[in-house]
């Protein structure tokens, strides 16, 4: 057991820090602190340009093998990059779905031609992706997917509807879970297709969230098309591929996210000191608890970094989602009555208000709290299904 960073890690950290310092300048300087959950609408064009700058410098897909344009970076190096990125308050990434969900899926399950076609666009920050899993009738129960696709004249024809699709409004492509065997049920007969978003057969209707902003949309497929080759894995094998996509989280994102959490908590503490609420024993206890739990999350993330044990991702998801949701409540309580009015119309939220409202989503998306508990109970604790 040795929990220090090695010299080579420190060197790598210095390189990352240096690059960020040199590049978050000029026009990009104003990107600091923009984007991220609940604020995906901010500076979207400039953040896309920033994504391309990251790609040109080789900072996207660090963990991918060199032959795919990655750096073959170790997990720890990926953590270091993400930590330094967060420490620099660099902007929320516009292509999380492409980099962290689709790219590893392509590497694991995709045909070489698909890898050649799509990985460079992700690694250069040029093609942005969204995830088309959820449907009106298929949320937690993803196997209830009904959107269907059929091969017609050398391409897939797709009909149906997705919902809650984050970033659909600006994404270039969508990875979609569809039913390709008519009459099939549940996990069978599904396929994982890659579909261009800008085409006549696709209509994107943004949905306004409780924050008044909109980062997810309904996506209607009405005779939408994608080339027959744009399928990851075999036809009918989509469930396995989709589950693979969900299983790539190995704790890198978790550790990086904690840097952002630290900043949010520091801000709440600063506010509590400034307005005197720190003297309220309830508030100070909650702040200390939040601080303690954040440390605990870090130690746990370090111990489970790279873990492929079933349930490890579920524990981490429950921890951070609940923590962040509580932080939202703490933040608004620290604000006090002042938080009941807005800084502007139509519905302009300040930091605490946005945190308070957006963090309600944390325990719902990417597997709700209840679904994570099911996973832990069934796969880790081995409790009987019936």
């Amino acid at each position: 057991m040795d929990l220090r960073y090695g010299v080579e890690d420190d060197d790598f950290r210095a390189e990352v820090r240096e690059w960020l310092e040199q590049n978050l300048r000029g026009e990009f300087a104003r990107l600091r602190g923009t984007g991220g959950s609940g604020r995906e609408h901010e500076e979207i064009e400039l953040r896309m340009a920033w994504e391309r700058a990251l790609g040109a410098a080789g900072w996207i897909g660090l963990g991918l093998p060199r032959e795919w344009g990655g750096r073959s970076a170790t997990l720890l190096q990926q953590v270091i990059f993400a930590e330094e990125y967060a420490k620099a308050d660099a902007p929320g990434r516009v292509n999380h779905m492409g980099e962290h969900l689709l790219a590893p899926t392509l590497v694991t399950f995709g045909a070489i031609t698909l890898q050649r076609r799509f990985l460079p666009g992700i690694l250069r920050g040029e093609e942005l992706w969204c995830q088309g899993y959820s449907e009106p009738g298929a949320g937690s129960d993803l196997a209830a997917v009904r959107t269907r696709a059929l091969l017609e004249d050398g391409s897939w024809r797709i009909d149906g509807q997705k919902v809650w699709t984050s970033n659909a409004a600006f994404a270039d492509w969508c990875f979609v879970l569809v039913r390709t065997e008519p009459g099939s049920e549940r996990h069978r007969g599904l396929s994982y297709l890659l579909v261009p978003m800008r085409q006549p057969g696709i209509e994107v209707r943004p949905i306004v969230q409780i924050t008044g902003t909109s980062e997810f949309s309904e996506v209607f497929f009405d005779g939408a098309r994608t080339d027959a080759s744009c399928i990851v894995g075999e036809a009918g094998d989509g469930w396995r591929v989709a589950m693979g996509t969900l299983g790539f989280e190995r704790g890198v994102a978790t550790l990086a996210q904690q840097i952002g959490f630290e900043r949010e908590l520091a801000h709440v503490l600063e506010l509590a000191r400034a307005n005197g609420t720190i003297a309220d024993p309830d508030i100070s206890a909650r702040i200390i608890d939040a601080w303690i739990e954040l440390r605990v999350m870090r130690y746990h993330a370090l111990r489970t970094l790279g873990s492929i044990e079933p349930g490890a991702a579920s524990v981490s998801k429950l921890l951070w989602a609940n923590w962040h949701r509580r932080l939202g409540e703490l933040a608004i309580d620290v604000r006090g009555p002042g938080a009941t009015t807005l800084t502007g119309t139509p519905y302009e939220l300040d930091r605490e208000q946005a945190l308070f409202l957006f963090s309600r989503a944390d325990t719902i998306y990417a597997g709700s709290n209840e679904i994570q508990r099911n996973i832990i109970a069934d796969r880790v604790l081995g409790l009987p299904r019936r």
Binding site: M1, D2, L3, I278, V296, M297, L305, A377, P384, R385
Partner: protein, 361 residues
């Protein structure tokens, strides 16, 4: 960066667990708790002489194994699983404090006695006793409550003031001026005694200016030790509860198949595993990152204690009527959980301490 136990450490765990599974059976634990006034004497002898567990982290030059506190933590965790009433925790915390004082005064012979099999105890609340020196001879007086395993220890390390300066002293418990009164305990797997000192001769283990720091550090190591013990107990208690949820049938199905209970068990797992990570991290800081110990020690104690309390509470509830009986072990874990919390001063005090050390309040 490598957050995992080495092969040697895993082997140590297997050896200790194997030994305890064979010998520290629930019956043995019960007997020691109920009739043995909280002391499994013959098993203790084997743990220290045959297994040499108390000398794990003692300097090889003094006959110890020269391991780190991580190894000690593994043994604490394994013993925590069994709730076996033995003076292991106070002895190893005393050994750690003595090792740090080893270039001073009388620490070396005391460490050698631990290597030879002596149990020690440690009482770190300086408010209860005070000492004076006269012509080089130190005597200490006061009444020290809740001395862990005092009745089975040969000597005690005592936080006190020596001529109004914080100091860590060693006192012979069978010596003149020292009287121990064992107390009946709520948690019978833990033996507690009141130590009355009237001008008892003592040796000082700390330099005049270093006493406060040595006491604080010993307290933080004690916190880590308690965290590891709690993690072991919590894990075992959860295992027993899960096994019951498989076995017990109601409404024609195992009660563990009811989602209401599944989700509660999942939450217990989510309480335990991060607390475990924290406790492991804390054992590493004892030697690996001493600067972090002041925060991480109490923090580990807090979250591990919380996990044990949550799990042991739910364990009683999820066992139904049988969980409320004297015969079932559920109450042993529950009582251990509460007594651990109360003896560390309560979770509120612990939280405030962490808040202070983190610079929040």
């Amino acid at each position: 960066m490598r957050f995992e136990f080495s092969e040697d450490q895993q082997e140590l765990r297997q050896t200790v667990r194997g030994f305890l599974e064979r010998h520290a059976t629930p019956d043995v634990v019960r007997a020691a708790a109920e009739q043995g006034s909280g002391f499994a004497g013959s098993l203790w002898k084997r743990l220290v002489t045959e297994m040499e567990l108390t000398s794990l982290a003692i300097d090889p030059a003094l006959g110890g194994a020269g391991a780190s506190f991580v190894e000690v933590g593994i043994a604490l965790e394994e013993l925590g699983r069994t709730l076996l009433p033995v003076p292991f925790l106070p002895t190893v915390v005393a050994a750690a404090a003595l090792s740090e004082a080893a270039d001073h005064h009388g620490a070396v012979p005391l460490l050698e006695r631990i290597v030879a099999g002596a149990a020690a105890t440690i009482a770190l609340d300086a408010a209860h006793a005070s000492a004076t020196s006269r012509g080089g001879a130190i005597t200490v007086s006061g009444t020290v409550p809740f001395v862990a395993d005092g009745a089975h220890a040969e000597f005690a390390l005592l936080a006190t003031t020596l001529d109004n300066q914080p100091a860590l002293l060693a006192v012979e418990l069978a010596g003149p001026g020292a009287q121990l009164d064992a107390q009946p305990t709520l948690d019978q797997t833990r033996s507690l005694a009141t130590l009355t000192l009237s001008s008892a001769p003592a040796a000082c283990l700390t330099a005049p200016a270093a006493g406060a720091q040595a006491i604080a550090r010993a307290r933080d190591v004690l916190a880590v030790a308690s965290a590891m013990e709690s993690i072991g107990a919590a894990a075992r208690c959860l295992e027993l509860t899960l096994a019951y949820l498989h076995d017990r049938h109601q409404f024609g199905r195992p009660i563990g198949s009811f989602q209401a209970l599944k989700h509660r068990c999942a939450d217990l797992h989510v309480a335990l595993e991060p607390a475990r990570s924290t406790a492991y991290y804390a054992t590493w800081t004892v030697t690996g990152a001493p600067d972090e110990l002041a925060v991480v020690g109490p923090l580990a104690q807090l979250v591990a204690g919380d996990a044990l309390l949550a799990i042991s509470r739910e364990s009683i509830q999820l066992h139904g009527g049988i969980g409320f009986t004297w015969e079932h072990d559920a109450h042993l874990f529950f009582k251990r959980a509460k007594s651990s919390e109360l003896l560390c001063g309560g979770r509120r005090a612990l939280r405030t301490l962490i808040g202070q050390r983190a610079g929040i309040v």
